[in-house]
Amino acid sequence: MSEYIDMPQPADIPVKEKEDAMGAYLMMFAALGAGLPLPFINVLASIIYYFLHRKRSPFVRFHLIQSLYSQVPLSLLNGVIVAWAIRNFFFNYGFSSLFFGLAIAVAVFNIIYLIFSIIAAVSARNGKMYYFLFFGRLAYEMAFRVREERESYATEEVNRPPV
């Protein structure tokens, strides 16, 4: 038996699951607008979304984990920029090239991330996998690897035809 749960194919995945998987990415967009000055609000929204849906199929779980985990480092960087800017502005430190370099680099990565998130959301809606660099592999590992407890859950027959 394989170490990993079989890949579900688009035709096997119910529409509800596709929509929930897509929601993992869209959640971030909604929260991003609300919490722009505070970079952790989108992470908070994603964490809540994750806990609401994590008991779903590996397909949904994969997209939840990929979206949530990839937001963490980027949000940390956004936080660093905001904190650094506040320090510079209110304590008269001035803005160095190092700061502007980081700010632009972070802005570029944010834009790239948004583009990839949209692609991932569309893929999820179509019942397809979409792997981000590093986070895709990590999420696959976490969502699809066969674990003891999950195995028992998978094999246990709860539903039976009427006797």
């Binding site: 001035g94 090239s97 370099g101 680099a105 590093f134």
Partner: protein
Amino acid sequence: MKRKLFRDALILLATFGLVWLVLTLVLPERDVEKGWLSEDQEEKLSEFIINIIEQQFKVIDSTEYDEGLDSIVAILHRQMESSKQKEYKVKVLGNSEINAFATLGGRIYFFKGMLEMAERPEEIAAVMAHEMGHIEHDHVIRRLISEFGITVLLGISTGDTLLIKEVIKMLSKSAFSRKQEREADDFALNLLHDSGISPRNLGTLFRKLQEAYDSNIPNVTIISSHPSVEERIKKSFEYDMEDFSEVNHFIPWPGVTYEQEDEESIEVEAIDSEL
């Protein structure tokens, strides 16, 4: 799997680090202290502010003081090896207030009241050295930025009269921070010492200001309630004079006459200051 995860993480980190590094190197080096303001912008701003000041206060043609002030500038500027300012310009404003202030672009303004009170040119040199200290340490531009913000400052040329009034008021009336005053004082004491003018002159001038205002010191830039005047006078009088040698600069000043026997050195000094 783990190895590939590790590889992916490395690729991500390296890409980010590289982008940051390249951007940092590509971006023009900025003056960390002054932040966003480019040299060009600063120049325009200072031109505008100078115009406004000279419209608001009456610049007087004070031939009696001009020569003296110019030679003080020359004497002090000669000792400033790494001066940020190419040249300093001093103008006299026809106001009886006892005050002096520095603005952008190496401009220093003296109110007539201050010149009349000082009596001796060495004391005016002390005030000038103090104002030069503010300029050399970028206090003026930094205070303008922290008070008004860069966007507002750059928009000043739109002619917002209320804003212009506030800027002028801040430059001529309000005091710098405690730390900045101390920096300017230290700068002045050292510069006076190097120029062969006794640093004690700063103290005696403060003493005169104190008497002129009858200990009820208002907020004028040169002297303010903080740091305490007593403390600043004390610092001037306690300045280490061990290796100090006084130079007689023969600064031309109304009411001050120098003994004629030293004619030769007067000529040398005159040639010096012309250079």
